[in-house]
Symmetry: C2
Subunit: 196 residues, 2 copies
């Protein structure tokens, strides 16, 4: 039973979105009914349809909120670190952090098959945050930190290992806490693309 997000300071709209995140990641979009959302959020059917066009509208709002939040964090990282090396390292650290402290957020971003219920959204990996990550890699190449290569391929190799570890963690098949693998994964990933 979901209780964590029924904070009285939250607006009905926020309550619905937080509940949707909880339910969608736990049971999946199609196994979650509007009645489930009504019950767990303590917001009535009528109110939900006052704030959102339909069920898909709830999912879209949730998706956009998470993308925007992620983009904000990436922007901060870009300001804080100068080298592409440090930027990319910080990104993986961020992703690991979120996976541990808010697994639902990570699961919804990486793991949920959005196209099945959001036919109008572009796939996650062509969203702004993923583009930003590729831009970091491209900048690393321009600065001579990363070997000249196809940006798409280099990005896949640099972040692919970490993302794989994250989905393993979300599947619950890791023995140790995710952060215990951080240095190991980072050193592998960087070695994969580093110049010379």
């Amino acid at each position: 039973m979901f209780t964590g997000y029924q904070d009285s300071v939250m607006s009905p709209r926020e309550k619905v979105i937080a509940t949707a995140l909880w339910l969608f990641t736990r049971k999946g979009y199609f196994n979650t009914s509007m009645r489930d959302i009504t019950r767990e959020s303590a917001v009535s059917t009528g109110s939900i349809y006052h704030y959102f066009k339909d069920k898909e509208g709830v999912a879209t709002a949730l998706f956009e909120a998470l993308l925007e939040r992620m983009q904000t964090e990436l922007d901060t990282i870009m300001q804080l670190h100068e080298s592409a090396h440090d930027q990319c390292r910080a990104v993986i650290s961020l992703l690991f952090d979120i996976t541990q402290s808010e697994p639902d957020v990570m699961a919804f971003m990486l793991y949920v098959k959005h196209r099945e219920f959001l036919p109008n959204e572009r796939p996650v990996c062509s969203s702004k945050p993923f583009e930003t990550m590729r831009a970091m890699v491209a900048r690393g190449m321009a600065r001579g930190e990363i070997e000249q290569r196809d940006v798409q391929a280099a990005s896949a190799c640099l972040f692919g290992g970490a993302i794989r570890m994250i989905t393993s963690e979300l599947d619950g098949i890791l023995e140790k806490p995710l952060h215990d693998y951080y240095e190991e994964v980072w050193s592998c990933s960087w070695r994969a693309v580093a110049a010379i």
Copy 2:
């Protein structure tokens, strides 16, 4: 409209499974109705329920068929190649091949969120084929080809880049054919984990 698998030599059971693969990857499990499967496979509702317990039973049979097929191919690779290096290289080549020639197969294996409609199946990455891939990595460490590391982390880094490229291809965001990235991805991936 789906016509490719209505081969008259196929048994009704095979027709249903082939149609399910086609529809599930194209529209998703929950957006595919039993009527859709009936129509596209030209097998009647009654017959489908004669061969399969229920809709989930169709999905389970499909999933098991694909896992078994993948395992057979991995076994062949293990016999053909001696070094872990050659084995892993061949695995990535195989995955790229399947992605290009039978994208549905790859999409269903890697991309579809099985747990949403197969609550009794373990996640893909703890299935036998994925275990076999980790065993290859472990063997590479024992032989001194791959640096001593946590096997889980090394496997993620070695195959993560390729898998990321495959999902990019399935999302249709690659400019060139997937195979054009093969050597680049492999050299990055191997560098990530190779001994010294």
